[in-house]
């Protein structure tokens, strides 16, 4: 006992941190990778939704016409009569239509209205980018348990980053931009891991930290902010009665004009409805801090009741943290940097998981066979399986008939079905001791799905092609093609590794 304690106490800080980094990194890493991949896609959630509604042709950034606002009011009243909570998003540079938004379980149903004519646009129902966004922060496990789990994983990420810094500290600066792909097996993986982790460390640390802080109220319900601001939550969360008792909605045009005077041109974001009031929220895109300033109007008279601006220290801290994490303020080039940084974070997790398994495989005995199979299968099923499933959602969106009644369920089911199949395939390959073949097969599938997506896009969007602005479609297609080509390169690399192993 004493000897064991002496040996333990003799371990250096670096060794201890190495253990922590490896095990916390692996246990949290599988789920953190899912969070990173879907978070990366969520940076362009609006653009992905646009891609998934190829019929969309119009849109205008001008103030919605009275006819459009009247149509939105009518739709809101209809939904309120059925006890649904709805909001209306106003046209923005990223989404130039009026949308009536209704949460439906883990998804969101939106009805798009032309802001000029007031016509309801005949777009296919789709889960859109919201599927990835909601998965990112709930893991589809509900807004309480899911969010708390993601919070805990975020803390795990901070632990992993801190311990990683300690263990790589010595070689950190010399290896900052050192990539040796032709080095011995763990060298290339380690270089890729260090480059992805260290060069993007400020970003990774920022998203982990802000991600934990913005939902801290789930873990610490009585924060300084709620004490100082008296709650400060949005209206309509039960404090003003039930939606079945809702008063008729007043004319939204004058309300919107008044709010525009308050928040500035393009400063209005969306409308929320409670039974006694209508609130106009400040646009998240207008400033880096996501202030959620709001002007509240009486539903009976349409008169402004109050303007709420939270400016206390804790509130401003949360607003900046939320703004930094959500990137709603970010212009397109910055959004691409977020996207690239998200990919780098995913590479960091992927290479970390692979290195963990490479090390364990060398030392594993037959007693650990099943654990190793499980770990290898789950790693493959996550690192490649989840991107395959995400790509499959985009394919399903274009291949499933637009008129299908359960389109949204079909699309979200597609994600989990394909992911499940990939995990089963990965486990089977690991059980056969051919996990490298599994990597190549799934990577080949992913490369095919990604590389052919632009062709699918043009083939299924042909009839509307001439009437559309192409940037969103071009962005999604170019990104998938680039990623597909990179995966294809990885596939060739895996093929060579398999051949080398066969020769041995």
């Amino acid at each position: 006992m004493n000897t064991a304690r002496a040996v333990t106490s003799g371990l250096s800080l670096r060794t201890r941190m190495g253990w922590l980094h490896a095990w916390v990194g692996f246990v949290c890493g599988l789920l953190l990778l899912c969070i990173f991949i879907t978070g990366t896609l969520a940076v362009f959630d609006t653009e992905i939704t646009r891609w998934m509604q190829p019929e969309f042709t119009g849109g205008s950034l001008a103030r919605p016409s009275d006819a459009a606002l009247a149509r939105a009011s009518a739709l809101v009243s209809e939904q309120e009569a059925q006890h649904h909570r709805v909001s209306v998003t106003l046209p923005s540079a990223r989404d130039p239509v009026l949308r009536v938004v209704q949460p439906e379980g883990m998804d969101v149903i939106t009805t798009a209205i032309d802001p000029v004519t007031g016509e309801v646009l005949n777009l296919r129902k789709t889960v859109g980018g919201t599927l990835f966004f909601r998965f990112h922060y709930t893991l589809r496990m509900g807004r309480m348990f899911g969010v708390v789990l993601v919070e805990a994983l975020g803390i795990g990420l901070l632990v992993t980053l801190g311990s990683g810094l300690v263990i790589h500290l010595r070689a950190l600066v010399p290896n900052l931009v050192m990539f040796r792909p032709n080095g011995a097996s763990p060298r290339a993986w380690m270089d890729a891991h260090v480059i992805a982790a260290v060069l993007f460390l400020p970003f990774t640390f920022m998203v982990a930290w802000t991600g934990v802080v913005i939902h801290a109220d789930r873990i610490f319900p009585f924060t300084a902010e709620t004490r100082q601001e008296g709650g400060g939550g949005p209206p309509g969360r039960g404090q003003h009665g039930h939606h079945r008792d809702a008063l008729p909605i007043p004319a939204l045009g004058p309300i919107l004009d008044d709010a525009t005077q308050l928040f500035g041109e393009g400063g209005t974001g969306f409308l929320q409805f409670s039974p006694r009031s209508v609130s106009v929220m400040r646009s998240d895109a207008s400033t880096l801090p996501q202030t959620r300033d709001r002007a509240e109007y009486d539903r009976r008279t349409g008169k402004r009741l109050k303007v709420t601006r939270q400016r206390s220290g804790p509130a401003q801290t949360r607003q900046v943290m939320t703004g930094l994490h959500m990137a709603h303020w970010a212009p397109t080039p910055m959004r691409w940097l977020y996207f690239l940084s998200g990919i780098a974070g995913s590479v960091m997790f992927g290479t970390g998981l692979v290195m963990f398994l490479l090390k364990r495989r060398r030392t594993a005995t037959s007693r650990h066979f099943l654990a190793l199979v499980l770990a290898e299968g789950l790693t493959l099923g996550t690192v490649i399986g989840l991107p395959v499933a995400c790509a499959a959602v985009l394919w399903a969106n274009r291949l499933v008939p637009a008129s299908l009644t359960d389109r949204m369920t079909t699309e979200s089911a597609c994600l989990f079905l394909v992911w499940g199949i990939c995990v089963v395939h990965a486990l089977a390959r690991a059980l056969q001791k051919h996990v490298l073949h599994g990597w190549r097969e799934q990577a080949a599938l992913l490369a095919v799905l990604l590389c052919l997506l632009p062709a699918l896009d043009i083939a299924t969007r042909w009839q509307w092609l001439g009437q559309q602005k192409q940037w969103d479609y071009l962005g999604v297609d170019a990104a998938t093609l680039m990623l597909g080509l990179m995966v294809l390169r990885g596939c060739v690399f895996l093929g060579r590794s398999i051949k080398r192993e066969a020769v041995k």
């Binding site: 900052l176 931009v177 040796r180 400020p202 977020y338």
Partner: protein, 95 residues
């Protein structure tokens, strides 16, 4: 071209050059080169690898304030990856 895009471009460029100087000074890379940079050039590269990112930071904050700071931080990663790939390709060519 917006001010933000200009800040992103200058930050990426200055980060890139600074990190390239840093990478090219590392013994692991120098060992693989047939021609070594002159000592005076190495001295300059040592100064530039510190000075250029700092210059990028000052310009970014002066031109775009808080958002410039975010752009400066975020542009380091992609610039570094490009430099790492370029250095690795050069090292392989001379290996």
């Amino acid at each position: 071209m917006s001010m933000f895009a200009i800040v992103l471009a200058e930050s990426s460029l200055l980060w890139g050059v600074g990190l390239a100087c840093h990478g090219a000074l590392q013994p692991a890379w120098l060992r693989r080169q047939t021609v070594q940079p002159a000592i005076s050039l190495q001295q300059w590269m040592k100064r530039l690898r510190v000075f250029l990112p700092l210059l990028a930071l000052i310009l970014a904050v002066a031109l775009a304030g808080g958002e410039g700071l975010v752009a400066w931080i975020a542009s380091a990663g992609p610039a570094g990856v490009l430099v790492a790939l370029a250095l690795s390709a050069t090292a392989r060519k001379h290996a």
